[in-house]
């Protein structure tokens, strides 16, 4: 079906005042247009522009969520400024990240990276998660700096570094020995195991073994279930590293 911008005027009018409980079927033509815009750059640009324009206006949270979902599918660098403006807003930050995480443009990463330095609390945790989701190796130093911070943020940072598992991420995790928060320590341990497994998969047996050995030594004295689980995981990892007959 060919894209017809004029036919979307009415659905976009509905979207301007749309709220939860409203008739979502009135927005169906926009859904169809998003599908139809696949492989049609002009249509996609037009749709993206019209959707992004409503993010800044006095639209409801429901409308903004709807728009973010659509932009996650067709958004480009052109949508990033409108979405980035929502990153610091408690009600909209999550859906803005949802869209930015999926937009294939360096500007989207940059917006998330920038917001990481400005937002706080749960919003910061969200940025950490989204940057890890995008596999942004450049954000490792900023995320690593959060390992020694408040517990929940430190845990999120550790998890993110484990997901990124770049050499820098592995180093940052190894260097976080001064962290004393229990939850963060456990998350760092998990993240280091994730890094080691990644290295092993890449055939970097020596690097992986160094991490496993370090973890094993750290957990040796512990009697907690976590320490025992770490010892087991590390032992299994060391053995896998030594087994050069098997590809991991």
């Amino acid at each position: 079906m060919a894209y017809d911008s004029a036919s979307l005027d009415k659905p976009f009018d509905v979207l301007k005042t749309f709220d939860w409980g409203g008739d979502a079927s009135a927005l169906q033509p926009i859904d169809a247009a998003v599908v139809a815009a696949h492989g049609d750059p002009a249509a996609r640009t037009d749709l993206e522009k019209r959707l992004a324009a409503l993010l800044g206006a006095g639209t409801s949270r429901a409308a903004k969520e709807y728009i973010c979902r659509k932009l996650s599918l067709i958004g480009t660098a052109a949508s990033v400024p409108s979405l980035a403006a929502l990153l610091s807003e408690k009600d909209h930050s999550h859906m803005a990240r949802f869209a930015l995480e999926r937009i294939n443009a360096a500007e989207a990463t940059e917006a998330l990276r920038k917001a990481l330095g400005t937002v706080q609390g749960d919003l910061k945790i969200g940025m950490i998660s989204s940057l890890a989701g995008r596999g942004d190796a450049a954000s490792v130093p900023a995320i690593a700096a959060l390992l020694s911070g408040e517990s929940k943020t430190a845990v999120a940072a550790a998890v993110a570094l484990g997901r990124l598992h770049t050499p820098e991420a592995c180093q940052a995790l190894a260097a976080a020995s001064s962290v004393t928060d229990k939850a963060a320590t456990a998350a760092i341990c998990d993240a280091r195991l994730a890094c080691a497994e990644s290295l092993l998969r890449q055939g970097k047996r020596a690097e992986a073994k160094a991490i496993y050995t370090s973890l094993s030594e750290t957990a040796t004295a512990g009697t907690t279930p976590t320490a025992q689980a770490t010892r087991l995981a590390a032992a299994r990892g060391i053995l896998a590293c030594l087994d050069t007959t098997t590809t991991s």
Binding site: L232, A235, L239, A240, L242, D243, T245
Partner: protein, 473 residues
């Protein structure tokens, strides 16, 4: 290395050299291969020796899926003789899963050396997983042991691979230890050894009843149209009673369930027609159990025969029929027969076949047939059987048929049972809630059976009831 094992277990004594020879010339454990990462091997061995089960599992996991190569296998297998029995069994299982035949000599040695049934059973399982023809002799001998070794040997003989394995088991089934011949036949069936079908047919007419029974059991699982002729010989050879009954059932299975069942049924009919009178008399029951239009023509001929004995044979055959296609014949015969014993036989058959879930009749037709049958019953004993069978037809109309009998003191209990059984099925019960509530209230006011009372109360409240599983003998 000519290390002689002087210990004698289960009649087996083998030298180390013989063991290695048995295992297709696999080399015995030697010095560690240079390509095997010894640090990993040593760490694995260290883990195997730990008391912590989790660490042992890591080591066993590495043996199962890692540290590839025959040299590593030989190193690990070399540990078997040095471990405690429980650990020997663990390692044997891991080596079996590893799938490297290089572990076979050590497993055989373990089997010879260990007195622990669990260890010997693990070794036998290992031989099944890794072995082939040369290991069959040991497995066959171990079949004479007690469980768990016997069970392990049987499983091993079922799974052991190799083109030469089935012929070896066939040989044992033919001329092995007499008490084990049926077991070997069962193993052939478990192996789905269709190449052994000619031998199974020969065993079906063996002099040993246990062998014959096992052979017919195996043929029921593997047989097709080509085996029917031979299986019929098995039926004829079987002693009347339990053995004959089992043999007949085997033929029925081939003719009604196995691939090519239609052709098998045709083959049976052809053979029946070609047989003399005495053979036909024996085969008539099988023919009737299989059913079909060809068979009914033969039975019809017998029933209308003026010879009383033949008529009796025909009627007996009719009572074995597997479905409701003969219902009208049965009703017609009941309408004319004056002989009470004959009438009882016919009525009993009608009661049995009317509600059969064989798709020959729909639910309405089944109930109509049962109602007709009820009208022909002259004794409460028969009426009770009709009521008990009625609940197999799961419709609201069946409830309506049964409910009036709740008022008859002589028939109330079977009627109560059927009402409760019908109520057990939520789809009918919920769709006809009022009728079921009334019927269940009546059941509660009538029955003295505590289980029925409990069930009726539960169903009234929309609850389920879990049928008690029969106690295991």
């Amino acid at each position: 290395m000519h290390l002689f094992f002087s210990r004698f277990h289960g009649g087996i004594a083998l030298t180390w050299a013989a063991l290695t020879c048995l295992s297709c010339g696999l080399r015995p454990a030697t010095a560690a291969d240079a390509t095997v990462p010894q640090d990993a091997v040593q760490m694995t061995i260290e883990f195997l020796g730990k008391d912590d089960q989790a660490f042992r599992a890591i080591g066993l996991d590495r043996i199962r899926y890692g540290l590839k190569g025959e040299a590593a296998t030989v190193q690990f297998a070399g540990l078997l003789s040095k471990l405690a029995p429980a650990r020997q069994a663990e390692l044997t299982a891991a080596l079996a899963d590893r799938g490297d035949r290089a572990a076979l000599p050590a497993m055989l040695a373990l089997l010879m050396a260990s007195k622990e049934p669990a260890v010997r059973a693990a070794a036998l399982s290992g031989l099944g997983a890794l072995g082939s023809g040369p290991e069959v002799a040991v497995l066959k001998t171990s079949l004479a042991s007690a469980d768990p070794e016997k069970a392990a040997a049987r499983r091993a003989l079922t799974v052991v691979r190799g083109n030469d394995v089935t012929p070896l088991i066939v040989e044992a089934a033919k001329a092995g230890e007499p008490s084990l011949r049926p077991t070997f036949i069962d193993i052939l069936a478990d192996r789905r050894a269709v190449s052994a079908l000619p031998d199974l047919l020969a065993a079906a007419v063996d002099g040993d009843p246990a062998v014959r029974t096992a052979a017919m059991r195996a043929l029921a699982r593997l047989g097709g149209p080509e085996q029917v002729t031979g299986m019929v010989q098995g039926v004829l050879k079987a002693a009347a009673g339990g053995e004959r009954d089992e043999a007949e059932r085997a033929v029925v299975t081939v003719c009604t369930q196995n691939p090519g069942k239609e052709k098998a049924a045709e083959a049976l009919l052809t053979q029946f027609k070609a047989a003399d009178d005495s053979v036909q008399e024996t085969l008539l029951t099988v023919l009737a159990r299989v059913g079909g239009t060809g068979a009914i023509a033969i039975v019809d001929g017998l029933i209308t025969d003026t010879n009383t004995a033949k008529r009796k044979l025909g009627l007996t055959a009719l009572t074995k029929w597997p479905d409701a296609t003969v219902s009208q014949r049965l009703l017609d015969l009941l309408g004319t027969s004056q002989d009470q014993a004959e009438r009882d036989q016919l009525l009993g058959t009608l009661i049995r076949i009317a509600p059969l879930p064989d798709n020959k009749l729909n639910d309405k037709q089944k109930l109509e047939l049962l109602e007709k049958t009820m009208s022909l019953c002259k004794r409460d004993e028969d009426r009770r059987r009709v009521l008990e069978r009625a609940n197999a037809i799961r419709t609201i109309e069946t409830l309506r048929f049964v409910v009036p009998y709740l008022d008859d003191p002589n028939l109330a209990e079977p009627a109560c049972l059927s009402v409760v059984e019908l109520a057990h099925h939520r789809t009918i019960r919920d769709a006809n809630k009022d009728e079921f509530t009334k019927a269940l209230d009546k059941v509660l006011a009538t029955t003295k059976n505590e289980e029925l009372i409990e069930r009726a109360e539960r169903y009234k409240q929309g609850q389920t009831w879990e049928r008690k599983k029969p106690a295991k003998s």
